[in-house]
Amino acid sequence: MNLEFPPVSHLFDWPTLWLDGTPLAVNKTVLIYLGATVVTMALFWTAGRRRDSLVPAGAQHVAESGVNFIESSVVMQTIGPEGRKFMPFLTTIFFFILFSNITEVIPLLQFPANSRMAVPITLALLVWGIYNVIGVKRQGLLGYLKNSLFPPGVPKALYVIVTPIELVSTFVVRPFSLAIRLWANMVAGHLLLVTFAILSATLWDSTYAGAAVPFAMLILMTGFEILVSVLQAFIFTILTAVYIGGSMHPAH
């Protein structure tokens, strides 16, 4: 029995399939992202096009309950009724991240596209730009800086400690923690599934019955990873909403 676990980089680096050597090179990750974009667009396009049935079914049902979910449990809980104008952005982000995460458990694909850092960090920097622009627009540059760097209700002397912490956490750490949270969860999930899959395959080669335990764990973990995919999409969306809400309504 020889257990051959591939090095971590082999699990996440995919060979280039097309347009090698150009900035537009295509590999499996890019194809999954393109697929996720197309599926998101197709879902809302078909849902918005058909208005002939009173009872929503199929794509329309999925899209309507998705929009409803984002409105009731993300926007209303964090921004309030004013946040409705961010509904399209938040819903798109939710479904795009969900579709590029869920490929982790789809047979034959079995790779979470968000376990590569590029797109999570791009989305996080986009969110960073959006909440800063909104903050400057709503409160003015000085007001926004004052409200985010000097939170009210803190004793004057403590500003020596609080202001540098707030500066680093609001303007530097936020986008990175947003991206790393999504990325690291997907990397961890993929590693977990790969570990149990390799264990099952190796034990199946030597002792047939021995593979039962890791295979049962593999199925259990697949279920768990579905939950994680949805949860991470939800957490990314809700944190985006919290940040936008924070720069729309400063703490009094």
């Binding site: 090095p7 971590v8 009731s72 449990s73 993300v74 809980q77 964090t78 923690s177 790393i180 949270r181 690291a184 969860n185 990397v187 961890a188 949860l231 939800f234 957490i235 809700i238 944190l239 919290v242």
Partner: protein, 91 residues
């Protein structure tokens, strides 16, 4: 102690590079394990308090659940940074 370990490894013909790789692996494993302790306790506290809040006031369950996920997300970030360090340290 490391000195004695290095000597005994040198006697068995282990290369210095392999020795360093072994130390890196130990450091990575220990680092991730330690990074998981605090967030584990923290997430337990967050979820436990959220459950008791939901049990006291079932009508506020939706709001509590949203806030609970936020709390989990912020606490979990520390464990994930530990996990990133673990991957970076792997030989």
């Amino acid at each position: 102690m490391l000195h004695i370990l290095a000597q005994s490894l040198a006697q068995t013909g282990t290369e210095a590079g392999e020795f360093l790789d072994g130390l890196k692996a130990i450091g990575a494993g220990l680092g991730y394990g330690l990074a998981a302790v605090g967030p584990g306790v923290g997430i337990g506290i967050v979820v436990g308090n959220a459950i008791s809040a939901m049990a006291r006031q079932p009508e506020s369950a939706g709001m509590v659940r949203t806030t609970m996920f936020l709390g989990i997300a912020f606490t979990e970030a520390l464990a994930l940074i530990g996990f990133v360090v673990f991957i970076l340290l792997l030989p």
